[in-house]
Every structure is written in C-alpha cells, then in structure tokens.
Symmetry: C2
Subunit: 292 residues, 2 copies
C-alpha cells in the first residue's frame, strides 16, 4: 500500500542506451515525468507478476505513449493474463493504439533467456511468491577491446587501425610485424549485471543464477520481528534479503517494497547492513550507477 | 495525459457526512493520502466513463481498502465493462476482497435516479462523448425547519419542543394556543446541488436537468483556438463550458480536465470568465464549499 509518499514498484534501467522499464505500479508515468524521464525511449517493459502494485500504472503509461503519437513497437514481458486485462481495457475504451504491443509470455518456474540483442541479455528468474512471479537478470555481453587512442600515431592507415581494433596484429606484405595489437588496445570495459527479485520469499534456488552480479535488488517487505507475516504473505525480511545477497556473493544490494507499517526505514536498512554492509534503500527517485 | 504535476480526474464530495468519490484516475489514492483524506469513509464511487484517465486509479484504491481490512459494502456506479475489468484483475491476482462491491450498472442516455437515501439523491446526466458517458447530479433533499434555540424558555416541556420542531403549533387541552410553531422555529437550511459533467462536448440536452444548480463542474479540455480538435475528440472548450453554465443559470462553475498543451491555465480561465464570471479552475487539491 502506498504510504508516506512512497509509490508502488517501478524501476527504469538504462544499459548502453537501451531503456527498460521493470514493473509499473500506479503512478509510474507521473513519477517518470516528475524525475524528468521521457517515456518515448522505453521499448521493453518487464512485469514481474500480476499483483496490482506491480502493474496498475501500465495502462496509463501505454495510453500516454499513444497520445504522444508513438509508432514504435513496444515489447511487453509478463505472465499471461496481463494481455487479457489490457485487451479488456482497450475494448471498453474503444481505443486502438497507434503502435503495436508485442506480448512475450513468461513461463512459470523456468530459467530462460527472454530477450537478447547485440549488447544485452535478459533472463527470467523464477521466484517464490503467492502467485507466479518472475525476477529479471540483465547482463551486458562481453565488450570489445578498445583502441588506446594515446598510442595511435599520425600516418597510420585507417585499415590498419580497424584491424588493430579487432585485436589482430598488423603485418606487412613481407610478413614483417608492423603493429602488435596488444600495444595499441586496452582490455574491454567490464560487463555489468543487474538482478531484480521482487516479490518473493527467500528462495535458495536463485542463488546460483544471480551469483556474483554487480547489483541485486531484492524485496524486503518486513523486518525480522514480522517474520511470521512474511511467511504468510510470501515476502522477505530485510535480514533474509541480505542473506541472499551474501550467499550469492553479489557486489551490492538494494532493498525495497517496504510495508506501509514502516514510516522510518532506518531500522529496515540496519537489519540488512548488519548481514550485508553494502546495502542501499530503493526509495523514490533514487538512482544507482554502475560504471567502470 | 498527466502533465505539469496535474493528475487525471477524481473528485471527493462530502454531503451531510456522506463521502462520495467521483471518477478515480491514476494516482487517486496517493492524492487522497497526500491531502489527508482517509479512504475508509468512501461508500459510493461514481465512474463517468471507461476512458483510462477516469478509472485507472480505482483498482489500486479497492486493493488498499482491502489491505486496510474494510468490511463495509462498497457501491460502484458505472457503465458495464468496469465489472469485467475488475473481475479480470482480481482473477489474475488471485485476490478475494474482504468486502463486497455492489455494482450498479448505468443505462446509456437515460436520466434516472441512481442513488437515494434520507438526505441525498443522485441522478445520471447523459453526456455526449466518444464512448457512453454519464455525469452525476447530486441534490440534497429539502431539509427540516429548525428550532430557534434563542426563543426556547425554561420550563417548556420536552414534548412541546418536539412538536414545535415538527412545525406544529402547541395548544392546551382547552384548545388554547400555547406556542406558535413559526415563533419558535427557523426556516430550513438551503438544499444544495452539484452537477459533475465530464467528459462531454457541449450538450444542450443537459441544460434543463442541471438548471439552477449551486455548483457545476464542466470539462473544458481546450480553448476556442482548438475548437476543431474539441469536436474531433468530443470535448468542450472553456467558452463552451461557460456558455452551458450561463444557459443553465447555475450559481458557480468549475472547469477542469485541461489538455496537456496548456501549461499556464490563466488563458483557459480567462476565456470562461468572459462569458461566465463566477468560474474557478479545478486544480489539484482545490476544495469548494457550499454552506448557508
């Protein structure tokens, strides 16, 4: 339940100029606008599960894209049901969107690559919640080596530079080594990974899949004193989220999806950092950057 | 489309301790919370039509009522379709609300009383929009005369006071006039009326139904320079809304539902006040009071 100015779940993820939206709780489009983020760059939306606090902002966002005269295809990843909900809403509003929504149905309990392009893959992470729920694992593919521009000299031929950039040594017609690729290039930039896990109770099965990711978002609806309630509702406590982060040896943890019973989030954060120190709170408008 | 911090349509109306919600665009529950209004007193929700900006906040609100452990019946007035949308959403979230929603289906194009109790009636106002749309006319019933407490004297019998309050003179057994009711009572307080008309293009048929209301809300999506667009989308201009108010001889007009093209609303207000001076803007958190 939204409380203390906190909104339901939605995250905006940019990887190499790809703009992904993860979940879309009520008010997502207003919050994007509030934080100065245009909606026209979003081409892929991932919805973890069909509880209202994770998707009720989707329809308004899709209509606003329509009003902004979007024509580009939009890819929507979700369990079946969301397609029926959207079609019902479109039917009664007598609306035909002026762009195409391509619906990609998730499969319950299956680790699979649901998106892949030149630079990024997205895997479904089966989670353990009251209804079928999937997390999402975003991985940058290995990157190319880079030219070391400080080493380039005047008079080098373009064809030679292109060859060096692809990692190949340049030799003359007489088989004499002209330039050694390793002298003129730098190693690839690191490839980052981000795992979004919400909503779920602690689920050991995900540990291997998310092992070593640079950034993990794991829900932490409750603190340990509400553990019984966490089990009833299939949510996690802050300590449990931190324990998952520790076992999976991730670099950094973000916790979120806090119950309306917590006005002050300091105790929630404290409970997690005692187990996993590099933990941050996912609060409204907060942004996290992974850079080399 | 929400813009400049403006939210889609929703109004909260209190009449003699009855709490009505009229339309429920995305973010309604957050805005109610923001303005310090509890949601548990709302027992009647009126949805004018099934365009997203008038109902997409409803489901989140209904779920929050559930999470707040509501048990009281909730009455929902809308055209058919909203029931199907809600049932589909409940089905996929595997949720059973712990209170009952009583759905009252509106009839297209029909002026009818859709709600009535001791103190208030609500009539449907057929409107002229792209899909079937209904406004709502809220009327207080005539009120009782009131005791003039300044006139009561010590030693008057309770039974005589009760009789005076009901407007009857008090006479002795010998038929002698003891107290004349008109001396001890004040006339009834005025009964107020409020008409909500959104979305619609100007529709002369409503004039007689809303004639003389104390307060009229009429949509004014555009200004006159966008009249062609107003006709295409079956919306009204500010001048047209003011013209309706003038023809219907209402006491006060509120205009709202402004297009995202208007950042500054002063020209919209000016266009209306030139025709109907007692016009106000419906902006976020604004409240209007009708008191004697």
């Amino acid at each position: 339940m939204p409380a203390y100015g906190r909104f339901p779940s939605s995250q905006y993820l940019i990887i190499q100029n790809r703009h992904f939206l993860i979940d879309s709780g009520e008010g997502t489009q207003m919050q994007l606008m509030h934080y100065g983020i245009g909606i026209h760059k979003i081409n892929h939306i991932f919805i973890s599960h069909l509880h209202g606090d994770h998707y009720l902002g989707l329809t308004g966002l899709l209509f606003s894209m329509h009003l902004q005269r979007r024509e580009t295809d939009l890819h929507l990843f979700s369990f079946r049901g969301l397609d029926e909900i959207l079609l019902t809403q479109l039917k009664y509003s007598s609306s035909v969107l002026n762009y195409k929504i391509i619906f990609h149905a998730l499969t319950e309990g299956k680790i699979e690559t649901i998106f892949e392009d030149d630079a990024v893959t997205v895997e479904a992470i089966p989670l353990d919640h009251k209804i079928k729920t999937s997390g999402f694992l975003f991985r940058e593919k290995p990157k190319n080596i880079r030219l070391d521009k400080n080493m380039l000299k005047e008079g080098m031929l373009l064809q030679h530079i292109v060859q060096l950039k692809s990692g190949k040594d340049v030799v003359s017609k007489e088989d004499e080594l002209l330039y050694k690729a390793s002298d003129y290039t730098l190693p690839p930039k690191p490839s980052f990974s981000y795992a979004y896990c919400s909503d779920t109770q602690p689920f050991l099965q995900i540990i291997e899949q998310i092992r070593g990711v640079d950034l993990l978002y794991h829900e932490a609806t409750f603190t340990e004193d509400e553990k019984e309630r966490a089990r009833q509702t299939k949510h996690s406590t802050a300590a449990e989220a931190a324990d998952v982060a520790k076992r999976a040896d991730v670099k950094k943890l973000i916790i979120g999806h806090f119950s309306a019973r917590y006005k002050d989030l300091a105790p929630v954060l404290k409970e997690a950092t005692e187990i996993f120190p590099t933990t941050s709170l996912a609060t409204e408008g907060e942004s996290f950057e992974l850079n080399d």
